[in-house]
Amino acid sequence: MAAHPLSDHFPGPVDPRLHARLLVPQESDREQLTEFIYDLLMQAATTEHLLSMQYLFACFTMKKYPEEFADYQPGASSPPQQAINEIRLAQIEVIRRWEANMLMVAREEMEHLCYVQNLLAILDKPPYLFRPNFPVPASSFPLQKPVNLMAFSNPAIQVFRYWEKPSHLPVPDPLKSYEMPDQLRPLFEAVPHPEAKPFDPEAMHAQASGWLLDLLDGKMDMNLRAQIADPLQNGTAFNSIEGLYFVIKYAFKLGLEYKIIEGKNMERIVNEHFGFNMQLNPLVLGQYYTYVEQSIQQIIEEGEGVWGVPPPLGSHFWVFQNILDELGSSETTRGLPFQPALPVAYNPTVAQNQDRHLASLQHGAQGDAAIYKVDNPVAVKAMILFNTVYNTMLQMLNGFFADYEIDQTTGLRPNHVNAYFQTVFYPFMTMIVRPLGELVCRLPASASYQPGSGRVPPVTAGPDFLIDIPVYDSAQRHSSVQAMKDVGDYTAAFNQMVALCKELANDCAGAGYHIANYQQVDARDFPACFNYLAESIGRISLNFSAYWDGAMKAPVSSRGFQNFPDTYN
């Protein structure tokens, strides 16, 4: 039988046996294929989510003020000290530029996560916003390295470059970085550094065809199916993001073209930009596959380059490569030891139970050693606040993606969707998550810390983005981040955050903790920052309820306003 040519070049002719099989669909095919793609999309969502939070964490750890260098002495009059000050001031500028680029990369991973939620909508599945706690073992992640919360550092950026590199490009093993902490090494050593080889679409095509044929015939290897169903527990079946997205795309294409599955939920396609580069046509009715293909193309293109084509200069890969280049030269050209990040603990956590971390469950004592239990009571409270904020944000995102719709003419959304939209992106991520993350990274990690003259503590805490469930409990992976149904539940969560912020303002003042630059003109120390967060969250709560009830509407009518054209937004 001749191979069936698909309507475009990707991914080449369908395997004749698969083509023949798809021409005589069976009753179970729809469910089998849908669940298969659903599993893959959950893995893709988890991957994008992990990468984004990992990058955010590294950004939170970066020094912002020259006072965060121990040898910076503002107002010094001796020429040698002035020379040191000048170097530190210069380095703070460089660090800021790195962080600006990395924050953009983190935002683009969020955009990718949004695209995956759109693909789940097309599949008629709910949003998926769970991710395992850090550290995530290499075996559970499709890129063959563990995912850690790492302060900005040479090994961290080497890992980030590795995530975003084209398959064919060899890069050194981040494990060989002299700065790689000993406690993280076993997690990296668990999977050998892979040899770089070009992504082979033909081989992947053959493999995917075989998988799909076996899947539909009920002959798929049980271990393989288990890996696809639960890569966290059983290990992933993929060794590249390109491979994962290739199979998603291929399965979608066959499912839609052979009408095994139907595209659904056009109204759930989110295309609001949030400052992202979301320019795909959201009107997907009748052209679902085009949307699948274009969104996956963009995800890959913004990362490591498309299917073996070298990455563009603005890609994530080049962001990290450039940072590594500059990082290498900074110390040698300035002549002073250079630590661009605060001394934030690796994989900090406030989790009480071992079953919260895959690393502990799968690597025992070595996994435990890679986790730092923060015990400073103020830092613990701040981390709990952060986790309340983060988990509430996930619940709001879940509600937003699950119920999204917009009137394409008026721009109006249903009230509760509008409440999510007006809350979870612009104010919440920007005004709460980021500043709070930065504050946590400036608090001491250890209960034994004694404050001294506003200098940075020897080890500082960091947000652990904890989702506090047993990680192997697959039911809770869904329920823990489900949207709340009652606006009162959100109000209660906001109120809890406000109370914690106010407590933290007092706690920091009482403990004598300071941000290192607190004596600078206009500096805002811990109490001012936590009180400002309390004010903002309190007002967010009022707005949220008003949007939910329809008392507040948005967007506002633009009576006589000359608005920006799209390109200026």
């Binding site: 003020y65 000048e86 530029r97 500096a523 920006f564 937004n569």
Partner: protein, 346 residues
């Protein structure tokens, strides 16, 4: 009722954090406004006069002073120089001043002679402004705005005019955001209805008039930042040749921000943030209605304005444009008119 109109214009300084930075960000990272080496932290106050900036923050330290600056005003802390093509800004510097006085629509030279060059200020009112040193554009990233991320109020609103030598305040009026709670901060005023009268009433995304006021060619807006980039490249070299390492990096950061937010060479869709702000201006049109029972009470110097007498129990109408915000300089342009209800001249 007869009207005395006082018109004003000039550049203001506003070092506010910009989206996607949080609004209390003090260094500037992901937004297009940065506090760079040699400057104080970002603080969102609107500064109407360079001399007030100097009085508060002093002069730049020697290692951050540019001996080649085109105007001494750029030796003041936090006030930046532009490339030479932005001639109007470099010549005028920061300062909003009176430029016209009219009585019932006709020029009134007798008063203009005394008032021309008078210093116009948007003043602070700490009781309703939290920790900031001056009035601010407060949106808190859509927390206190109304869903339109670009519709900000100026709050608190205390408008004043001083004599040209700044020896005497001749006029001042407070406008409470909430008449019933004049000391309320903006975030405390909910729901938003009371705020609406102080929001912009019109927005001009591409204002030729505004651009002409500051000397930018509306047909070639892109050149404004292209010239800036080239100039900043030169300043980096100059600073390095003077051995001013930190100043060179500070110029590099300015260059980076202008490049990132105009040239789309980075992994960004924020590429038009700077370009979109330069042609934009918004029209505010509201009254000043503070009473004698509120602090500060209305002030009108009868002797200075003689023969005019104004009724301080009536509302004064203030119309003003704010716009042409240059994110690199953190400076924008203000022009407007205060209309005072005066008793008829005999």
């Amino acid at each position: 009722m007869p009207t005395l109109s006082i018109s004003f214009d000039g550049f203001f300084l506003c070092r506010l954090a910009t989206d996607p930075d949080p609004s209390a960000e003090q260094r500037g990272v992901s937004g297009f406004t940065y506090a760079i080496a040699g400057e104080t932290l970002l603080e969102p106050s609107i500064w109407s006069q360079a001399k007030d900036v100097q009085a508060t923050y002093g002069m730049k330290a020697p290692e951050f002073t540019d001996p080649l600056a085109s105007n001494p005003v750029f030796n003041i802390m936090n006030i930046r120089e532009a490339s030479p093509d932005y001639e109007v800004y470099n010549q005028r510097g920061i300062g909003i001043t009176v430029n016209e006085v009219q009585y019932n629509g006709e020029p009134y030279p007798n008063l203009l002679g005394k008032l021309k060059g008078g210093l116009v200020r948007f003043e602070n009112r700490p009781a309703s402004n939290g920790p900031w040193k001056g009035p601010i554009f407060e949106g808190r990233n859509q927390i206190t705005s109304d869903g339109d991320p670009d519709r900000f109020t100026v709050n608190p609103m205390v408008f004043s005019i001083s004599s040209p030598d700044d020896s005497k305040k001749v006029l001042r009026r407070f406008d409470p955001m909430s008449f019933s709670q004049p000391d309320a901060q903006l975030y405390q005023i909910f729901p938003n209805e009371e705020v609406v009268r102080r929001l912009p009433t019109q927005r001009f995304a591409l204002s030729n008039t505004g651009l002409q006021q500051v000397g930018i060619d509306p047909d070639n807006i892109g050149a404004h930042f292209t010239n800036r980039l080239l100039w900043l490249q030169g300043k980096v070299v100059e600073a390095e040749s003077m051995g001013k390492t930190a100043l060179a990096e500070a110029y590099r950061s300015r260059h980076y921000a202008v490049n990132f937010f105009t040239q789309a060479t980075g992994p960004t869709v924020l590429s038009n943030r700077l370009l979109s702000r330069i042609p934009l201006r918004q029209l505010y049109n509201h009254t000043l209605r503070g009473t004698a029972q509120m602090q500060p009470p209305p002030l009108f110097d009868d002797a200075f304005f003689a023969p005019f007498k104004v009724d301080t129990t009536k509302e004064w109408e203030l119309l003003y444009y704010l716009g042409q915000y240059d994110g690199d300089l953190m400076s924008g342009f203000c022009s407007g008119t205060l209309s005072l209800p005066v008793q008829p001249l005999s």
